[in-house]
Structure formats: structure tokens, C-alpha cells
């Protein structure tokens, strides 16, 4: 039974040091950015600073929230293979409690406190006279923004916490046997359904419209929310893969093997293709119809300062996963999977960069120290708090009714 002691994660000192270092670098970048850009009095520099905070906080929040989506969707599908690694997405999803309020403060600051019409054009008084925006003001107004943002983040936190609370029962031998097991699965199904419904109403539709698409207040795309969802979900799966590999390398997670990693890799591969499908569906129809009010979104991205980033985005997020992750052996290889996971997360971070900053500062593009600094803060927070959450529970939900099925999983 000596192996079982390895089912309790202990935070290595090196990991703690790295995470704290990254957080410190992020805080430093934030302060420097605030002084040089945020408080500089120049509207453009200020918008750039706030935009950087916005896309980073939204991206990392949605990536961590995607973990809870993964748990809920596999629960609803009666999936069993993920049970052996389930504590990892659970730990990642605890970050919603932290990134949720951070994103909330930033977004509410922009809309309610700062009233920044440089970012959200629909806030300005001109919008009331604008024939296009007039029709959208029922949805795009500060009151609705505040209510919906509060509800979205609040319920993600609440429903996610419910799922995690339920999962604690799987550490208790009382769950053994048919009756408790059935009741456990049923309660999981109910909670997961609630989360999925709310997820569909927020990440799957309204929240990307409200937070990001409305920066281009005149423009709209029906693909936008799914595109955002695909982006965050594939990065979320990559983040899970990174943690699985990390823990395996440290000798934890004895029940997870390359079969489980293979399935995570399949998600990374499949959703990279799905993301491209949505990317293309959005782009091709607008390119083909060539209507000025629609092409305004792509003009400076395809053929302007964002050209490099725009095509880099496509290469990193489509061509690389397609060619590298296609082979079965690649999805079972720790090195390749680590490389691809980092690349995919970076690629979708770039994607969010061009989605938000491409609309805020159309005239020039450039990823600067500020972007990397703020991202370092969020990465540091993920390392620190995921480590903490992992250490707080056993790494294997030992008495989960599907545990055996997960152990003998074979792809």
C-alpha cells in the first residue's frame, strides 16, 4: 500500500517559488503598465492597458471554467474514463472563484466606473442616436451588462462549487455499494445539467457577445460565441493535459496512464479542428458576401497591422495540432503533448489578443512586455492555486462508482 501515499499531492518548493515569481512579475507589470499607460492621460494608451487586462482576465477565466464544463459534460455523457484524472479539472476549476472576481472588477470598472466609450462604443451618448446601435441598446446597456456579468460569474462559481462538493463524497467508503452509488451518479447528473444549461446561456451565447463582441458594437457574428467557447475549451483541455503530465512525471496519479492522456489528446486535436471550422465559417461567409458592415471586422486583421498575428493564429491553432497531434503515438508521448499543450494555450491566448485588442487599437498591433507580464500573473496564479487545490484532496476519487471502469480504460 506504499503506492497509495503518492495519491496525496504535496506542493514542491520549486513550484511554489516559480508561481510566486510569476505572480510578482505580473504585479510588477501591472504597476508599470498602470503608471506608463493607464494613468498617462492618453486615451489610446489607457485603452490599450485596460484592453490587455480585459482579454487576459476573460481568457484565463474561460480556460479555467472550461475545466468545469469538461467535468459536467463527461458526467452527463456517463463517461468513466476521466474519473482517474478528474481531480485535476476540479482543481483547475477552483480558479473560477479567483479569476471570476478579477474579471468582474475589470469589466465593471470599464462599464460602470470608467464609462469607457473608447472600449465599448455603445456606452457613449452618440449610441442613442445611432440607427444601428439604437436597436441593440436593450441588450447593450450598463445595467444589463452588470446584472448579466454578476449572474454569469456568480453562478459559474456556485454551480462549480456544488460539483466539487459532491465529488468529495467519492473519498468516503460510504459510497460503496449499489444504492449509494446510484444516488451519487444521479445527484451528479442533476448538478452537471444545471451547470451545462447555465454554461450554454453564458459562454455558449451571451457572455462573449457582451464582453468581447460588443467592442465592435456595430459588427456581429453568429459564430462568435462558439468560436470563443472552442478557443477556451481547447486551451482548457491543454491545461488539463499539462497537469496530468506534470503529476505523472512526479510519480502521482498511479491509475492514470497513457490511455487517459490519449483521450485528453483527442479532445485537444478534435477541438482544434472544431475551432478552425468555426474560424473558417465566420471568415468565409463574411469574405464571400463582402458587405462593408461585416468586413469591417476583418479588414485590418487580414490586411493591416494584425496580418502577422492573424495568420500565426491559424498556423498555431490549426496546422500544428492537425499535423502533430494526428498520430496516435503523438497523443501518448509526454514530450509532444507538453509541447502541443503549451503551443495551443499560447495560440489561443494570441487569438483572444487579436479578438479584443484588434478591435480596441486598430491602427497598430504588437504584443509587448505588458501582455506577457499580465499573462505571467494569471499563469502564476494557476500554478499556485491549482497546486493548493490538488494538495487539499486525495488525487484519486477512490470510491467513485466508475473508478474501476476508469482504471481499465482502453482506447
Amino acid at each position: 500500500m506504499a503506492a497509495l501515499t503518492k495519491e496525496q499531492f504535496e506542493i514542491p518548493a520549486k513550484m511554489r517559488a516559480w508561481s510566486l515569481g510569476l505572480i510578482a512579475a505580473g504585479v510588477l507589470a501591472f504597476i508599470l503598465g498602470l503608471v506608463t499607460k493607464g494613468l498617462s492621460g492618453d486615451e489610446h494608451k489607457k485603452a490599450e492597458f485596460i484592453g490587455t487586462l480585459m482579454y487576459n482576465s476573460i481568457f484565463w477565466l474561460l480556460v479555467c471554467n472550461a475545466s468545469m464544463f469538461f467535468i459536467c459534460i463527461t458526467t452527463l455523457a456517463m463517461g468513466a474514463w476521466q474519473v482517474a484524472i478528474r481531480r485535476i479539472p476540479e482543481a483547475i476549476s477552483t480558479l473560477v472563484k479567483i479569476f471570476g472576481p478579477i474579471a468582474f472588477v475589470i469589466l465593471v470598472y470599464v462599464v460602470i466606473v470608467d464609462h469607457n466609450h473608447h472600449i465599448y462604443h455603445w456606452i457613449s451618448d452618440e449610441a442613442k442616436e445611432d440607427p444601428v446601435l439604437k436597436g441593440k441598446l436593450g441588450f447593450l446597456n450598463p445595467t444589463f451588462y452588470l446584472i448579466w456579468t454578476t449572474l454569469a460569474i456568480g453562478l459559474w462559481m456556485l454551480l462549480g462549487a456544488r460539483m466539487r462538493k459532491l465529488s468529495e463524497e467519492a473519498d468516503d467508503a460510504a459510497l460503496r455499494g449499489e444504492e449509494p452509488g446510484k444516488s451519487f451518479i444521479w445527484r451528479n447528473t442533476v448538478s452537471a445539467s444545471l451547470f451545462i444549461v447555465w454554461f450554454a446561456l453564458t459562454v455558449g451565447s451571451t457572455v462573449p457577445w457582451l464582453w468581447m463582441m460588443s467592442i465592435d458594437a456595430h459588427w456581429y457574428s453568429t459564430m462568435y460565441s462558439w468560436y470563443t467557447f472552442a478557443s477556451s475549451f481547447v486551451s482548457g483541455m491543454s491545461l488539463i493535459a499539462l497537469w496530468v503530465i506534470y503529476l505523472k512525471n512526479k510519480g502521482y496519479l498511479q491509475y492514470a496512464n497513457e490511455e487517459h492522456l490519449h483521450d485528453v489528446g483527442k479532445f485537444m486535436f478534435a477541438f482544434s479542428i472544431f475551432w478552425t471550422y468555426l474560424w473558417f465559417s465566420q471568415f468565409m461567409l463574411i469574405w464571400y458576401a463582402n458587405i462593408p458592415e461585416e468586413t469591417v471586422y476583418f479588414k485590418h486583421r487580414v490586411d493591416g497591422p494584425y496580418k502577422g498575428i492573424f495568420f500565426l493564429n491559424l498556423i498555431i491553432n490549426f496546422v500544428c495540432p492537425l499535423l502533430i497531434l494526428m498520430k496516435r503515438a503523438a497523443k501518448r508521448n509526454y514530450t509532444l503533448m507538453t509541447f502541443m499543450a503549451v503551443l495551443i494555450i499560447f495560440g489561443h491566448w494570441i487569438d483572444f489578443y487579436q479578438m479584443v485588442m484588434g478591435s480596441i487599437r486598430k491602427e497598430d498591433a504588437g504584443i509587448s512586455w505588458l501582455d506577457f507580464g499580465i499573462a505571467a500573473f494569471f499563469v502564476g496564479m494557476i500554478i499556485f492555486f491549482v497546486g493548493k487545490a490538488l494538495a487539499s484532496k486525495p488525487l484519486t476519487p477512490k470510491y467513485h462508482p466508475f473508478m474501476k471502469e476508469s482504471i481499465i480504460h482502453h482506447t
Partner: protein, 194 residues
């Protein structure tokens, strides 16, 4: 093709089948194939079959489809018969991608089906030898190929001792065309014991 002699052992339980497969390979007998009513997880591994290369073939068919579509449309719409569609450039790549995608899928799907039929030696009007009709119902049928050196009676006794409910000897044609799929099967005796 030459006819061969096969010893056929029928099992009624997977739990009996798996150890029997292992022992058969350890004893050095060559398993021709195992016919089961449903896909049995891990049986390919137990039999020592190599990974199929059907997906590699699929990938090659796929890129052939992509190339065919791209070069076909590209040649037609830029060189052979350029037409102005709504002011789009003649080389209108985004508009071609759906067709390139469809041809990729078509080529790889059709190609893989045909390859699969070839590998399993299936074709219209070809009658395959059935070793046991209940292989599609409730029996796991293990077929062992014999050579001149095989003692058939010993082998029958061996299968019985390992839990076969029915054992018989059949003479049949192993395949009807080029390329035997089981060519590269390794005997576990040679791999693990030696």
C-alpha cells in the same frame, strides 16, 4: 490458392478464451484468426497482432483528395476557364476550401473502405469459408493453422484441455487473393521465451 488444414476450437466464454490464446501462442501454434460475435477489447493485443496501418492509408488518400481538389479547381478557375464570380480573385482559395475538404473526406472514406475490404479479403460474390456458424451468435472461434510438423491430435487435445467446448479439423482456403493479413504475426514463444 493452396488449401490448408486448420484446427478449430470453440470457446463459450471470453474469460476462458484469453488464457487459451496466451497458452496457444506460448506453445508455438500459429493462430490463423479468432472469430467472435462482437469486438473483444484487448484480443488483438493478446493475439500479438500488429497495429493496423489502415489509418496511414486513410491519411494518404485524404491528402490525395485535397491535392486533387486544389489542383483541379485551381487549374480550371485560373488557367482553363477563369470566370469572374462577384468580383472575387480567380484564385479564390477560401471559396474552394469546402470543396477541398469534401474531396478529402470522400477520398479517404472510399479509399479506406476499399482497403479494408482488400485487407479482410471481402468482395461481392466472394464466398468466404465459415469455420463455425455460431461465431456470429455466441461462440468464440479460434482457428489454428497447421503445418506439416503439427500433430493434429495433440493440438485437439491441447485445445480441449484449455477449455474449448468444441474442437474439429477443417480444410479450407485461407484467402482468395494476394497479401495475407496475418503475415507478420509473431509467435509469443519466439518473442518472450527465447
Amino acid at each position: 490458392m493452396a488449401k490448408k488444414t486448420f484446427v478449430v476450437g470453440c470457446f463459450d466464454d471470453e474469460a476462458v478464451l484469453f488464457p487459451a490464446v496466451k497458452k496457444t501462442r506460448l506453445a508455438g501454434y500459429k493462430i490463423h484468426d479468432i472469430y467472435t460475435p462482437f469486438a473483444v477489447h484487448g484480443l488483438d493485443h493478446a493475439m500479438g497482432l500488429r497495429e493496423t496501418s489502415l489509418h496511414t492509408a486513410g491519411f494518404i488518400y485524404g491528402i490525395t483528395g485535397t491535392t486533387t481538389a486544389l489542383s483541379g479547381i485551381g487549374w480550371i478557375l485560373t488557367k482553363d476557364w477563369p470566370i469572374n464570380f462577384g468580383g472575387k480573385p480567380h484564385f479564390a482559395l477560401p471559396a474552394w476550401i469546402p470543396i477541398m475538404f469534401e474531396l478529402t473526406v470522400l477520398f479517404s472514406a472510399v479509399g479506406m473502405v476499399l482497403t479494408f475490404c482488400y485487407l479482410c479479403q471481402l468482395a461481392p460474390f466472394v464466398k468466404k469459408h465459415h469455420f463455425h456458424p455460431r461465431a456470429t451468435d455466441d461462440l468464440f472461434v479460434m482457428v489454428i493453422e497447421t503445418t506439416a510438423k503439427t500433430n493434429v491430435e495433440d493440438l485437439k487435445g491441447f485445445l480441449k484441455a484449455n477449455g474449448a467446448v468444441e474442437v474439429d479439423v477443417q480444410v479450407a482456403e485461407p484467402g482468395w487473393w494476394l497479401g495475407r493479413y496475418d503475415k507478420e504475426q509473431q509467435l509469443i514463444r519466439d518473442v518472450e521465451v527465447a
